[in-house]
Amino acid sequence: MAADESYPEDLRYHPEHDWARIEDGEAVLGITWYAQDALGELVHYEPPEDGATVSKDSAYGEVESVKAVSDVISPLSGEVIEVNQAVVDAPEKVNEDPYGDGWLIRIRLSDPAETDALLTVEAYRELLTEQ
């Protein structure tokens, strides 16, 4: 079952429709409800390797629906410390729960100051109204 549209208040957002949950110098990353809805049911997640370096505004993985493939953009820079293997095994978790079970990677931030440049939920909602 696909989730209902929502954008949690406690997350920070990237204009490429990615979110970050930032805590203690780490961040959990995923794609927003809008992104998963635009793609449709996900059937493949190509994750980065553990220990890989990700850079703000660059692709770190791919998600695919039946019809399309899309890069996943990192909102922040850092090192991959965990990949959500449950999503590798069952990519539809992203559709079912994009901000919970459907998270994609956890990183250790290399430049915590970058978080200042991310969008608040209000700013991201504003951006969606312009899409």
């Binding site: 049911e41 493949h44 791919e62 695919e64 039946v66 019809k67």
Partner: protein, 350 residues
């Protein structure tokens, strides 16, 4: 900018919140609820597709049969009025201008149902080659076409069983339709040809009978699972019927455009062949991806029934036997696949 054409069911698709996309010059529904649930509905029960974008050409006259025998690869002498045949329109090189179904309406009258993207090309080709005593007309705009497909489709429509590739004029819930025992999903089912003005009513009746509306997304994954080629992907003017595995559609003992070249390829053996494959590694193949050894993916997607990446592609003949391992370049990553026998998905009987 060219305006997209709309089928008689456009408003119905909007009302169902379909996601509309441009396809072959038409604004078509790619999905309603989602490709995977729609795909499963057709495999498990019944789905309905708006395929009104497809073209219909009528060929009529005392020499219509003779004319089409010289144009189309399959042997029309094998069908009688009330029967239909899958066939190819070929060029001088044995390339495939279009794949189509020919319905024999009368001794001297045929209906050709052609791909939407090739409607004008086929019409022009036939007009240029027309002989006295045969007349070709494009009647596409007069009709809507609904494909109702799935193991329970016949029962849901209240129809009787009939052999594949036959057709009959019938009344369905008070609407006059041509019921064709054909389809593009590998399941039992029919394609209903209906006057354009009645298409929306027929769509409503079919939904009331429990068919799930399905978009072009599911149509593509369904046909790929059973290895039906898609013109523009797997076959085209530059690919010949023998290499494409469509030799069974070519009556090489009669004369038609390109037959000499097809006989030669058959005799020499094709250099490359279209093969179905299933991914061994977790990855989804896509059209255009290189296959190690000189091959190329022509269709690729995710199979909802196998829950794996599947596809078709041309490979050198020595790589074309079942069980051969292939390596596909998935955006710079090597991913393993295995050649399988057709169809990729085998229907559960009974």
């Amino acid at each position: 900018m060219q305006t997209l054409r709309r089928t008689p069911l456009y408003e119905r698709h909007r009302a169902l919140n379909a996601r509309m996309v441009p396809f072959a010059g038409w604004e078509m529904p790619v999905q309603y609820e989602g490709v995977i649930p729609e795909h499963r509905a057709v495999r498990a029960d019944t789905g309905v597709f708006d395929v009104s974008h497809m073209g219909e050409l009528e060929v009529e006259g005392p020499r219509a049969h003779q004319f089409l025998q010289g144009m189309l690869a399959n042997d029309l002498d094998k069908i009688q009025p009330g029967q239909a045949q899958y066939t190819l329109l070929t060029n001088e090189r044995g390339g495939i201008i279009d794949d189509l179904i020919a319905y024999r309406l009368d001794q001297g009258r045929y209906l050709l149902v052609v791909n939407a993207s090739n409607r004008e090309t086929v019409f022009r080709w036939l007009k240029e080659h027309e002989i006295p005593g045969s007349d070709v007309r494009d009647v596409s705009d007069e009709f809507g076409l609904l494909a109702v497909q799935g193991p329970r489709s016949i029962e849901r429509l209240g129809l009787d069983d009939a052999p594949a590739f036959t057709f009959a004029e019938q009344e369905l819930d008070g609407i006059e339709v041509m019921v064709n025992r054909t389809g593009y999903t590998g399941e039992r089912g029919v394609e209903l040809l209906v006057p354009a003005d009645d298409a929306a009513d027929l769509w409503d009746r079919v939904l009331e009978r429990g068919a799930v509306p399905c978009g072009l997304g599911a149509r593509d994954t369904l046909r790929l699972e059973v290895c039906f080629p898609l013109h523009g992907n797997d076959i085209g003017p530059e690919t010949d019927a023998i290499s494409a595995g469509l030799g069974w559609v070519c009556a090489l003992d009669k004369e038609f455009t390109g037959v000499a070249e097809l006989r030669r390829i058959k005799a020499d053996g094709p250099e490359r062949k279209l093969v179905p494959f299933v991914m061994e590694d977790s990855a989804i193949p896509r059209q255009g991806m290189p296959i190690a050894g000189g091959g190329e993916v022509t269709s690729g997607s995710h199979s909802p029934m196998l829950n794996r990446g599947i596809g078709m592609g041309y490979v050198p003949s020595e790589q074309a036997t079942a069980d051969t391992e292939l390596t596909i370049d998935v955006r710079g990553r090597d991913r393993r696949a295995r050649v399988v026998t057709k169809p990729i998905y085998k229907r559960q009987e009974g």
